[in-house]
Symmetry: D2
Subunit: 144 residues, 4 copies
C-alpha cells in the first residue's frame, strides 16, 4: 500500500469504529470528514514549532473541504490517511488527502481542503507568514 | 405525550438525523448521549443569568452519565428530551432525562447525569453556590 | 431569511447542539456534512413514492460532497438547510445546499453533493429511471 | 500502564481525534461512548465464531450504558480501552470498561454496559445460549 501514498509526507492510521457505519452498513460519508480533519491537523502539526496555530494571531481557517468516495468501507478496517500540499498561494494553500483501506488494499476516498491564513487581530485574510511558507515547502520536499 | 413529561421543567425537541442510525438501522446508542447533553445544556441555561458556567470560576463538571434504552428509534422521528433535577447535594446534583419519541408516542430512553461543582481556580470540588442552589430548586418548582 | 432560500424547494431546520462545537468554539466542520446529509435525505424523500431508494434495486450513491464555510456558527443557533437540484445528467445529478443561520440571518455555508444512480443487482452505474428524472424536475419546478 | 488493565482480556487502542474535543477543549463526553462501543464490539468479536450476532436469530441488545469520567483528555493522545465480563446472568451480562490515557498514564474513565440476549424471531428476551455462556467465561478466564 505504500506505493499508493508515496507522495504524501504526512501519514496517519485510524481504526474504523463499528459505530461509524450507517444504516447502509458502510462507513458513513460524514465520518470521512473527521478522518480528513485528522489528516489536516497532523499535517499542520508536522510543520513544527512555527506558531501558525497559536501565538502570532495568524492562523489557518478551513475555507472549504471536499471528499470523493471511491469504494465503500466496512468495519473492521483501518484507514491510512495521507496528506500533502498541493497548491500554495499567497494567503491560502490546498491540502490533498488520500484514504487507503488496509482491508481492501486500495484507495477508498480522496479529498482536499482549502486553508486560508487569517489574521485574528485584524479580522481579515493575510499573506501566509514566510516561515510557514518555508515549512510547508520543506514538508512537501520542495527545494526553496 | 405531554403527560409523559409533566414533571420535566426543561423540554427540547431534536429531529433525528438519518445518519445517526447505525448498521442495525436504529438510532445509535452514542447519539442518545448527544441528546442527553443537549438536554443538560438546556437545563443549565434555564437556570438563568447566574454565571454558573462562566465568570465566577465555579462551574459544572460532568462526573458521570448513564442511559437506559427502552425502544429502538428510527429515522424519521423527533425526540422530545425532558430534563429535571432529581437530587441536590452539597457539591453535586443529578439531572434526570426522559426521551420521548413523537413517532412512537412513548418513552424510548431514560438517562441521568451527575454534575459536580468545580472551582477552577482552586482545582477542586466546591459547594454549589447558594444562588445556583436557589435557581435549581426554583426551576424544579421546589419551594425554598 | 426566506429570500435567501427562495430557489430551494426542500427546506429543513436543524438546531445546533452545544456538543457540535469544537475546541475553537465554533460548529465543527464535520458537523456541516451531517447537516448536508440531512438536507440530501430530505430532498430524496421529497421525490415521493418512487422507490428510488428501495424496491427497484436502483438507488442513489453519494459520489462526492463539498462544503464551503462562509461564517462561523456558535451554539445556540438553528440552521436552515435548503436543498435544490442543480445539474441533472444521464446517470447522475448534483444537489446544491445552502445553510442559513437563524441567529446571524445570513448564509453560513454552501455545499453540493454528486449523486450517481447505481444498479445494485448489476453492480454498476445506470441511467436515472425516467420516473425519478420526472420527479427531480417536478420537485425543482422545471416544466417537462 | 499494563498493570492498570491486567484483568481486562480484550484491549484495543484508539487515537483521539482533534475534532473530538468540544468547546471546553477536552474530549467530549459523548465520544467516550463511541470508545466504549468499540470496546464492546471488540469483546463480542473476541467470543469467536459463535454466531451470537448473526445466524441464530439470537443476538445481544444494549440495554444500558454508563460512563464515569475521571480526568479530562486532550488531543493528542491515545486511549487504551480494556473490556471484561463482570456479571453473567441468565439472559444478560454486564461488561466493564476501563479507559487509560497513554499521555497521562492513568485511568481517565470507567464504564459499563448491560447486554441482554434477545430472540429476534420471538421478539423477547431469551436465555444466553450455552455456547455463548461458555465463550464469555472462557474469554474472562473463568474455569467452567
Amino acid at each position: 500500500m505504500n506505493d499508493l501514498l508515496g507522495d504524501y509526507p504526512v501519514i496517519i492510521e485510524i481504526p474504523v469504529a463499528w459505530g461509524e457505519m450507517d444504516a447502509f452498513g458502510h462507513l458513513n460519508n460524514v465520518v470521512y470528514f473527521r478522518y480528513l480533519e485528522s489528516g489536516r491537523v497532523a499535517f499542520l502539526r508536522a510543520l513544527g514549532d512555527i506558531e501558525f496555530m497559536g501565538g502570532t494571531g495568524i492562523g489557518p481557517i478551513l475555507a472549504s473541504v471536499q471528499c470523493r468516495f471511491k469504494a465503500p468501507v466496512t468495519f473492521p478496517d483501518t484507514l491510512i490517511v495521507g496528506t500533502r500540499l498541493r497548491d500554495l498561494g499567497i494567503d491560502r494553500f490546498t491540502m490533498e488527502h488520500r484514504l487507503v483501506s488496509r482491508q481492501l488494499g486500495r484507495i477508498v476516498a480522496e479529498g482536499e481542503g482549502l486553508v486560508v491564513a487569517y489574521d485574528y487581530s485584524a479580522g481579515s485574510k493575510t499573506p501566509i507568514p514566510p516561515e510557514v511558507r518555508a515549512a510547508l515547502l520543506a514538508l512537501q520536499g520542495v527545494a526553496t
